[in-house]
């Protein structure tokens, strides 16, 4: 047991902090948001030069073979500085490629990710599916040369910035069948791929992505060592753990801003932080953040540990539901304690509020994870396993 940062994590944290100071303060971020693309290729490149994009990639593909715990300092910084570039989308897609693509495809795609040339996104959720991971209507039909993909994907994070998407499609079976799913790599410039891009509440970019008779070669299919659904759940849990770590950074930023504001804002002749009615709320925000930090650690360690899938899903769901509640609580209190200033677009806290609100919805909201936790817990109880005692093994 050792909760301290490793040397590598400390170095990463230091270099990210320097990067944020130089290139991603609140004003620099505003300029990025106001640019037509809404994100910065320079930032992407600089971050890749820091080795962050290579960090989670397999050693065989020029990466460092790192896990979610290794990425944690970076994800904390993403949350703190409200970095809008879609790193998590790429990490999730890269995880799928790393774990299930052919060696040639892996080398090709991950090489591009590692040196900052390509960004990826995972096109999975569909309109009406909400957070149901099994519900896929998009179809893939085998042809002589490969497959033809037809369907629509909804709110694909980072898709407008991506060079490639990994798309899930159904080879056979009914809409919610656990079997019959497959994953394909699609170049976004391929004929038949359409994109309706959106700005999201947290000032990042997402798109509804359409696949209209999109033809891919056989080699574009990711051949999972397990069922595609198993790979999809693994990748989404990995992404969930990463945004849990991002949430911790954003929660901390919201708390820091609120503390500083309430210590300097004077009313009735005194700083408003001197009022006990506010102090206890500030303490509760602090506790929420520390609890979030603890369970984010647990989630990251769990997705790194190759724990069995039911136990992993159970823990990741506990983390996400706890953190989503913390996001809601802290963001609302941060705005309230800032008073009118908390509403202002000029104040970073209002941006943090919006990011925290979105995080609470991404990768499953509280209700979704309450449901999934109970299902996994039931499975463990039925198997007679004392789920509680061994949370960390």
């Amino acid at each position: 047991m050792d909760f301290g940062y490793s040397d590598e994590q400390r170095q990463l944290a230091d270099s990210i902090r320097r990067f944020v100071e130089r290139h991603y303060d609140f004003e620099a971020r505003r300029r990025i948001l106001e640019s037509p693309a809404g994100w910065s290729r320079d930032v992407w490149r600089t971050v890749s030069e820091l080795g962050v994009l290579a960090l989670p990639l397999p050693v065989a593909c020029g990466g460092f073979g790192g896990g979610a715990l290794d990425l944690m300092p970076f994800m904390n910084a993403v949350g703190e500085a409200l970095i809008v570039e879609p790193f998590v989308a790429t990490f999730v897609a890269a995880r799928l490629v790393a774990r299930s693509a052919s060696a040639a495809l892996r080398a090709d795609l991950l090489g591009g990710v590692s040196d900052g040339r390509s960004a990826m996104a995972f096109a999975h959720a569909e309109l009406g599916a909400r957070y149901d991971v099994r519900r896929v209507e998009t179809r893939a039909r085998p042809t002589d040369a490969g497959y033809v993909i037809d369907g629509k994907k909804s709110v694909v994070a980072g898709a407008p910035c991506a060079t490639h998407v990994i798309v899930s499609a159904r080879l056979h079976g009914a809409v919610r069948d656990p079997d019959g799913l497959a994953l394909f790599v699609v170049d976004v410039s391929a004929p038949g791929v359409s994109m309706r891009a959106f700005r999201t509440l947290d000032d990042s970019r997402a798109a509804d992505v359409g696949f209209d008779d999109v033809r891919v070669v056989e080699a574009a299919r990711l051949h999972a060592p397990a069922d595609a659904l198993v790979m999809i759940e693994d990748a989404l849990d990995y992404g969930t753990a990463l945004i849990c770590a991002e949430a911790v950074g954003a929660l901390r930023a919201a708390n820091d801003a609120t503390l500083e504001y309430t210590k300097t804002r004077r009313q009735f002749g005194v700083p408003i932080a001197s009022f006990q009615a506010l102090q206890h709320r500030l303490v509760d925000m602090f506790i929420e953040c520390e609890q979030a930090s603890s369970i984010a650690l647990l989630a990251c360690a769990t997705v790194d540990s190759e724990a069995d899938a039911v136990q992993r899903k159970r823990i990741v769901s506990a983390a996400k539901l706890r953190i989503s509640e913390a996001c809601r609580h802290v963001s609302q209190e941060a705005v309230q304690l800032h008073g009118g200033m908390g509403m202002s677009d000029e104040m970073k806290v209002s941006h943090t509020f919006r990011r925290l609100t979105v995080i609470a919805q991404q990768f499953g909201d509280v209700d979704h994870h309450l449901e999934r936790f109970a299902a996994c817990d039931d499975a463990l109880l039925a198997a007679g396993r004392a789920a509680m005692q061994e949370t960390r093994s």
Binding site: M1, F3, Y5, Q276, Q279, H280, L298, R322, D378, Q389
Partner: protein, 393 residues
């Protein structure tokens, strides 16, 4: 960074677990799990089994019977005891009076009291709260007037847990009412409960149980040799106790056991033809508590790891008490809810042998556990502590 126990720590945990399985008497375990109150005899029985094994005062120095375990092992031991259903031993002797004597006591005091505490010969209680002095402890008014080699103590303590079982009481008393500040002029006395002039009156609580008392001092003669530390330094001693290692206030092991038991009960109870555990409304409440507990376990371990690394955590450990007791209370509430309408029944009018005595403990226990957020520094006081010392408000 690694959040798991090391191989050695796991081996230690397994040893403790195996020892408890072999040495914790079944009837004591059943009493813990069945929420039955323990007699002094039973508590002493368990105390002596631990003393025999050399495990009753792990944190004491080796020469006084300590185990030499580091803080991680002490934490594991406490957690395993809680999980196994070992009787909760009163903290007043081993955990409170012992460390005070070790820090401030004279050699004669140590020789006289420590071995008796270790063997369980003396039971202790804590004379802090008074009718007019609760959270504002420094306002206490129980007086000790010097008379040659004795102090004459007059006044009243209240909410004194287990005073009716105790052989000795350690007390904060005012020895100088002319001191400049209220904190000065307080001294720390050890008083024999059989001294003439002491009377103990039980305070009946709403759950019908007997655990707290009023203690009256009417001209009680206490040898000056029973004063710990200098006259007027009682507040220093009190602060030392407040700051003393508080790594087990969250009582993670106990709450884990209760959670497992709660699920078992909720599986047996039926609602709308299904196990209550499958009722979404009930389950969501339970899952939220479980996620809090999973996070708190990691928070607790983070503090333990810090302490092991020689960086004693500061006032933020108060959050263990705040969140830990909130979880404990929530569990008693859910337990009561599992019993449904039968939770109202607390005892048979005639001596009905078929009466369900376990179910009858659930509502009184819910009532009783309201104490947890009030005692040992109310949760509001804990928030004040974090506000002042962590958030610097």
């Amino acid at each position: 960074m690694d959040i798991r126990y090391s191989t050695e720590e796991l081996a230690f945990r397994d040893d403790v677990r195996a020892w408890l399985a072999a040495n914790l008497p079944g009837e004591l375990r059943d009493k813990t799990i069945g929420y039955q109150p323990f007699t002094k005899h039973e508590l002493r029985h368990w105390h002596r089994i631990l003393a025999q094994q050399g495990w009753v005062a792990p944190a004491w120095p080796r020469e006084w019977g300590g185990t030499g375990w580091n803080v991680v092992r002490r934490y594991i031991f406490e957690e395993e005891c809680g999980y196994a259903g070992a009787p909760p031993l009163p903290p007043f002797g081993v955990v409170m009076c012992g460390p005070v004597l070790l820090e401030f006591g004279t050699d004669a005091q140590k020789q006289r009291f420590l071995p008796r505490i270790y063997r369980g010969d003396d039971f202790w209680c804590q004379g802090y709260s008074e009718p007019g002095s609760g959270s504002d402890l420094a306002s206490l008014s129980t007086r000790a007037k010097r008379d040659g080699d004795h102090y004459i103590v007059d006044g009243q303590k209240t909410w004194t847990t287990q005073a009716h079982m105790a052989d000795w009481i350690f007390c904060l008393v005012r020895t100088d009412s002319s001191a400049l500040s209220r904190q000065q002029g307080i001294s720390f006395l050890l008083i024999d409960m059989t001294s003439p002039g002491i009377s103990v009156r039980p305070l009946r609580l709403m759950d019908g149980g007997r655990e707290v008392n009023e203690v009256f001092f009417d001209g009680v003669r206490v040898p000056v040799g029973n004063r710990v530390h200098d006259e007027g330094e009682g507040w220093t001693v009190a602060k030392f106790l407040l700051g003393y290692e508080r790594m087990n206030t969250a009582r993670i092991g106990t709450s884990k056991r209760e959670l497992v038991q709660l699920k078992k009960l909720a599986m047996r109870e039926r609602k709308n033809g299904k196990p209550l555990l499958q009722d979404t409304r009930f389950r969501d409440r339970l899952t939220r508590i479980e996620a809090q507990l999973m996070a708190l376990e990691i928070t607790n371990l983070r503090f333990v790891d810090q302490l092991r690394g020689g960086r004693a955590p500061g006032a933020e450990v108060s959050m263990l008490k705040i969140v830990g007791t909130e979880i404990q209370q929530a569990l008693t509430e859910l337990m009561m809810q599992v019993a449904g309408p039968r939770a109202q029944l607390v005892g048979p009018i005639d001596d009905d042998p078929a009466f369900d005595r376990f179910v009858a403990t659930l509502a009184p226990r819910y009532c009783n556990y309201r104490k947890t957020t009030i005692y040992a520094g109310s949760n509001e006081i804990q928030r004040n502590i974090i506000a002042k010392h962590v958030l610097r408000l």
